[in-house]
Amino acid sequence: MKTLIVEDDPVTALYVTEGLQKYGHVVCWAPTGTDGFEQARGGDCALIIVDRMLPGLDGLTLVKNLRSHNVQTPVLFLTTMDDLDARVEGLNAGGDDYLTKPFAMPELLARANAIIRRMHAAGDPGPQTHLRAGDLEMDLLARVVTRDSREIELQQQEFKLLEYLILNAGRIVTRKMLLENVWGLNFDPGTNVVESHISRLRSKVDRGFASELIHTIRGSGYVVRAD
């Protein structure tokens, strides 16, 4: 799994490279935008991580150029430009996700994996109507959740939360990812919002069953694992 990082700051580049290597990514580093474009245009990377402010070619233009050369490799912007408009710009230019520096390694890893998975899933025929994790089953059309053939009643938000977790089953999902994708928030509302929702969901999904589905990964986020 080859990942290209386009980043002019060597410290950040090294931090990201080491972090990703630990989880099995093969990482190439391009220190300028022009370099990055040359390396990325072959289209053999699984993911490109791009800074916005780069020498040579800026990140936004780099991604636009790639897209216009029909290179569809997923792109994650990793940048200090963090106002809301900058984020929208990045996604409009063809980015798949946008993470602002400073960031925590688990956050970057979780997002990188989510993007790559999404890319693979995109090849599947049609949207899924049924999700399964261990003995839990979700019918997305009828909006029915059963575990061990017992029906579990969920509120709308809880259903969305569970759906997102199970879509990413086996991979860590961070607080921020949940806030963005389940509640559509691009800020952190603070106090325990995610924790409270998760614990409520847990009390319905896990309580009274032999094994836990939703696990907390300290300092990172949550993961759905059936073991």
Partner: protein, 463 residues
Amino acid sequence: MSSARTRLFQTESFRLTAIYAGLFVGSMIVLSALIYFIVAQAFEANLLRGSDDDLLAIRRAYNSELAKKPKKAVHEATEMIDDRLLATDSQDAFLLQQGARTRITGNLPLMTPRAGEQRFLSPLPITEGERSEHVILGRGEFLGNGLYAFVGRDLYAERAAEAKVLRTFGWVLLASLVAAFAGGLLLSQSFLRRVDAITNTCRSIMAGRLDDRIPVHGSRNELDNLASTINDMLDRIGVLMESLRQVSNDIAHDLRTPLAHLRYRLEQARAEAKTAEDYAGPVDAAIADSDALLEMFAALLRIAQIEAGARRAGIEEVKLDSLVARASDLYKPVMDDAGHPFEVHLSPCMATRGDPQLLLQLLTNLLDNAVNHTPAGTGIALIAEMDGARPTIAVVDQGPGIPIEDRQKVFRRFFRREQSRTTPGSGLGLALVSAIADLHGAEISLLDNRPGLRVVVRFPEAA
């Protein structure tokens, strides 16, 4: 001095005046040339008519006798001319001659007899002006039997009148040129003075006197309008600079404490920890400290961005009731976990224009405050309703409230009341709320809920 003078001539108003004066002079010249030409024509025609009348009289006198006695006829003509010459003024010229060689009478010397209009330098004695200025214009005619008569007039007086007309035109032209020049100078001087005032103010602001403003005369002309627009702009820039200065001050003062804590923790770990396990605790704490610091930076930046009005792209129609529903969905479990009875009152609300993310953040900050600053078991309510024509959101609790003297201070960055020192928070939440409210033109008030606090955000009247 000379450069000041050059500057006067280089102003736009002087240039415009010069162009205008040039056009005026040009048209004056064309006009006076036309008038001069017409007047000269009229004068000459008039003179010719006079001399033609004389010529006609001479011919009549001649013809009246011609049939009976040709000698008498010549005499009659001669007498006629002599009579006229007796009463003559110097501008009349007469000649009667027989053939080319015999001069009969008149005040002109022999001429080559030629019929028709003639013009030549006057041979008569002159009393004024140069000889070259005396031109005789007249007509010659053959009366019959080789008798030739010429009657003319000296053009001198007419020429003098024409010259006078020209001179008058010249003076008028000169006077208007002087007036235009002086006017141009005056205009450009007053213009320069105003522009200089603007330039000087800008220079002085660049030099650091940020409170300087361009003097406005109150005359509502375009320069005054420009000046007051620039002043408004300077005021706005001043507000922004003030907010930036505030941010840097905040960073300098209020972020120093947590940074010092962080350093203290690391230093202590360095000095005391022996094993990797000993390090783990302080390092985790240091990471948490840095995260908190980074969050404070992010919050400060966000406040500054919002205060600068940088985020305009996200403005759209927002339904406050659905916004409130989203916020309550988000906070219901939090309230349950923290043991706060939570009520939501939704009345149908008009839409307002705003940024949904920011407004949601405003709401969650207020709810967060209610959860964090009231004891467990305190009732909290979230209300969306119309106050007259103004959509209004209120977050109400029955906790300890905020005393009147602190109600303005809590909106300041990093302000934390003594009672809240131990609760989590950065002291930036309400500052952000206030910035977001300002951006939306909303009015925010902290009221006494007897008991508790009622935070009311009133949005501008829905359009």
